[in-house]
């Protein structure tokens, strides 16, 4: 959950609170408030958004204040009409608009309807004597009856003692607005107390400062890579929050990638499995899989960091193609490392990368597959520490990569939420099912549901010829804790700690490790892992061809095969993330089924 600290006015206190991991800071421009701001605010220092709070102020006054105080957003805390929001939006298209509603016991949530689509957030505050800042909470159960496309900010008397109750809310806020309960005197916030609150509200499923998810993750990198990894860690969050970044990213996802991808209700799969089965159609993304969500994000980051040269690793070639694609789009040099054996197995993708202008370098060391391609890419990065950006293709590698890639892929679950609301009048499913190699499509499909334990997260690993055989990539079943490619996670290795070569019929799932987030979800039992064998996956893939006219990637077929192993209730809403299309796998399908 994001944090908004409101009622800030003292320059030193503003400076202190700016150092904390908060996303919004609120400044009140309302004469009757004890926290009213009367002077020019100090220059903003920190990545949070600066929000001005107004109560029935005239348009001109708001306009002037936005200019004068360099506000990123405006919170309308009185009885403002929709017309004012429209007017502000046309004057400042990037201005964040927040509309407040005071909640009484018989508040009619339909009052919010006219503001849908015009406010970025609704803020729900306690109805009291004053237009705000009453310091008391309202009955949060009222929120259960409300559902909307607009995310909400919870406000009104939030204190340290509420952390548990907030986590238990069924309808969770996006942002928590804290104010008087964290003050040492009016308008002066207690930095240590807010720090403690942020810490307690942090999810047990998100990475800590050092990039660890529980015991997994971190940055086990040689000193040669430390400056690169560190500067990325320090800059990426700030850079991707910038409005210009978000604008470019969203625009490219929409116009170039083709997002939002449909959430398709499959009637025939639903009939077959006795539940409401939805397919999230990532296979319809440009280049044929979800991989490009991430490469678009990382290339925009590379541009902003002034890097001239892009490197990447690839197994089957999907991430290599997605990287070569965005490099072509941005006119940046692209070098893709690929295992020599994989280059022979995936010749069409090698050709695609070359057509897109990339140089494909064979990894000839070790087992000559994905893990060795990753080693080679890391070596290249060591040798070219200043001009080169390494676009990692999954939620693996040293921190902050797992966190960053998950964030770029989180658009998948963000869309699922909105689409479910339209189609099912609820914004969470009962199950989300995704395949896991390194785990980027699963991370994206799980992302916005991880906190909500009513959503069951299901991961499908590649069992190969069987999780109990030597020919498998079922990392959580067969792996043990170790360090691979800079991250502590579960991986397939010998007793001596030598990393072994996994096997799966799907070239995109045969990675010997798994992202540290997934290792953590497995260990905490937050996600349930299935091992799907080659034949089960191929049968499920063919079933989708016949039932829905969609040829899925063999990776995604592993997720579909989970449906066979589950027992659902008729009303269960199940989302299967269809991560990619199967054109690249035709030869495998042909050889297997003998078409």
């Amino acid at each position: 959950m994001k944090i908004k600290v409101c009622g800030m006015r003292n320059p030193d206190n503003i400076e202190d609170i700016s150092q904390l991991d908060i996303q919004f800071m609120g400044h009140i421009f309302y004469e009757k408030s004890v926290r009213n701001v009367t002077q020019k605010l100090p220059e903003k220092n920190g990545s949070h958004k600066r929000i001005g709070v107004f109560v029935n102020a005239p348009y001109e006054q708001i306009l002037e204040t936005v200019y004068f105080q360099s506000l990123d957003g405006v919170q309308l805390h009185g009885n403002e009409e929709v017309a004012l929001l429209k007017k502000l939006h046309s004057a400042f298209p990037n201005l964040i608009l927040i509309k407040t509603f005071s909640i009484t016991a018989n508040f009619n949530f339909e009052e919010t309807l006219p503001y849908e689509g015009f406010a970025e957030y609704f803020l729900f505050d306690t109805h009291g004597l004053h237009p705000g800042g009453n310091g008391i909470t309202f009955n949060w159960e009222l929120l259960d009856q409300w559902q909307s496309r607009t995310p909400y900010i919870l406000s009104g008397g939030i204190a340290m003692q509420h952390t548990h109750a907030i986590k238990q809310l069924k309808n969770k806020p996006d942002v928590l607005d804290i104010n008087s309960k964290f003050e040492s005197s009016a308008g002066i916030k207690n930095t240590a107390l807010i720090q403690q609150f942020i810490q307690e509200m942090k999810s047990k499923y998100s990475a800590d400062e050092a990039g660890f998810y529980g015991e997994f993750g971190g940055a086990f990198v040689p000193e040669m890579l430390y400056p690169n990894v560190q500067s990325l860690k320090e800059s990426y969050k700030k850079l991707i929050q910038e409005p210009s970044f978000q604008e470019d990213y969203k625009k490219l996802l929409q116009d170039y990638v083709g997002r939002p991808t449909p959430l398709y209700f499959s009637k025939r799969l639903s009939a077959q499995y006795g539940a409401k089965i939805y397919l999230k159609r990532e296979d319809l993304c440009h280049t044929g899989a979800h991989k490009i969500n991430n490469t678009i994000g990382q290339i925009l980051l590379a541009q902003r960091l002034g890097k001239k040269r892009i490197i990447a690793e690839t197994g089957a070639g999907q991430h290599g193609v997605a990287t070569a694609t965005v490099c072509a789009l941005m006119g940046l040099e692209c070098v893709v490392y690929m295992g020599e054996i994989d280059m022979a197995r995936q010749a069409p993708n090698v050709a695609r990368m070359k057509m897109l202008g990339a140089t494909v370098k064979p990894a000839t060391s070790g087992s000559k597959t994905l893990k060795d391609a990753t080693n080679e890419a890391i070596r290249d990065w060591i040798a070219n520490p200043t001009d080169t950006f390494y676009i990692i293709g999954s939620v693996v590698g040293p921190a902050p990569y797992p966190e960053m890639v998950a964030e770029f892929q989180s658009v998948i679950s963000e869309e699922i939420k909105k689409q479910l609301l339209e189609q099912e009048q609820r914004n969470t499913p009962d199950y989300v099912i995704a395949c896991v190699g390194g785990g980027s499509n699963a991370a994206g499909a799980f992302y916005h549901f991880i906190e909500d334990e009513s959503v069951q997260l299901i991961a499908a690993e590649a069992g190969g010829l069987g999780a109990d055989t030597a020919h498998t990539a079922a990392t959580t079943f067969r792996g043990t804790v170790g360090v691979i490619h800079g991250s502590k996670t579960l991986l397939m290795q010998t007793e001596d700690g030598q990393i072994t070569e996994p096997y799966s019929i799907s070239a995109g799932l045969d990675y010997p490790g798994v992202g540290p987030l997934h290792a953590h979800l497995f260990q905490t039992k937050r996600a349930k892992f299935f091992s799907i064998n080659d034949d089960e996956a191929l049968a499920a893939g063919l079933n989708l061809c016949k039932k829905d006219g969609i040829i899925p990637a063999i990776e995604s077929s592993h997720a579909l095969a989970v449906l066979e192993k589950m027992t659902f209730k008729k009303e269960d809403v199940v989302v299967v993330n269809l991560s990619g299309r199967g054109d690249k796998d035709l030869e495998t399908y042909i050889n297997y089924f003998g078409f």
């Binding site: 940055a219 080693n375 070596r379 520490p385 170790g482 360090v483 800079g486 700690g497």
Partner: protein, 253 residues
């Protein structure tokens, strides 16, 4: 006193050689150590092979792959080294990657090192922060030095932090590259050597990566306390075997 500290107190042009354990043949480890000491080497780094050595270049990776194929493992190495202190007196360092050490058990690994008489470890993918927060106490308990790396890109503040935590010496990586470069040290690299020397660090420094002849060795010892040779030596033994190592080491003296 740890043998590394003794050696560095006596000598200002330490010749340090890296070799891969179990290469070219599984049982070459002990004879290589004996022959290196005889040929006048001051300090020896024993490479514990790893399947995915991402800080190493092709020469050392190929030797690691061969050593693993020969049957080398952590336990085999400790078994080979069990009585090494009866015949070899120079300081010994094991250089490897963190994963095999984790699988063996960090404490069990350190115990074995202490029992055998290993003086230090170099684990490039165990960074400063994780070392200090999780393992430093154990290393100190067993009096095993963890040798840390710095590079031309390491900031001054971080060099100081590494110097505070380091014991034995600081391993100065000469260049932004993996192991196995073959050229001369550029003016820029020499500027870096000078800059570090001028910092008057509490730990002495040895330079590694790119030392392969007298010229590069002398250049390194001009500014720092010694040089580390790896790939060039591994290449030599793969061609000439391990019997006459004095023929190799004499090119540095």
């Amino acid at each position: 006193m740890n043998r590394i500290d003794q050696k560095l107190a006596q000598s200002s042009n330490v010749l340090s050689i890296y070799f891969t354990a179990g290469f070219p043949n599984l049982n070459d480890t002990v004879p290589t150590l004996i022959n290196l000491e005889k040929s006048g080497v001051d300090l020896i780094e024993i490479g514990l092979p790893f399947s995915d050595p991402l800080a190493d270049g092709p020469t050392i990776q190929a030797s690691s792959t061969q050593a693993l194929a020969n049957g080398m493992s952590t336990q085999v190495l400790f078994d080979q080294l069990e009585n090494i202190r009866a015949s070899v007196q120079v300081p010994l360092i094991i250089m490897g990657y963190i994963n095999p050490v984790l699988q063996y058990g960090v404490e069990r690994f350190l115990q074995a090192c202490q029992r055998i008489g290993i003086d230090g470890l170099i684990l490039p993918d165990l960074p400063l922060e994780i070392y200090t927060s999780q393992y430093q106490e154990l290393f100190e308990q067993y009096n095993i030095h963890l040798i840390q790396l710095i590079t031309p890109q390491t900031s001054e503040a971080r060099i100081n932090a590494i110097d505070q935590v380091s014991k034995g010496f600081i391993y100065m990586v000469s260049t932004a590259a993996t192991t196995g470069n073959t050229g001369v040290f550029s003016d820029e690299q020499q500027e870096y050597f000078k800059r570090i020397a001028a910092m008057n660090l509490k730990n002495k420094q040895l330079i590694g990566f790119g030392i392969h002849n007298k010229e590069t060795f002398d250049c390194a010892t001009n500014y720092q306390s010694g040089g580390i040779i790896g790939s060039d030596f591994v290449r030599y033994v793969s061609e000439h075997g391990i019997d006459h190592l004095e023929k190799y080491t004499k090119k540095y003296r």
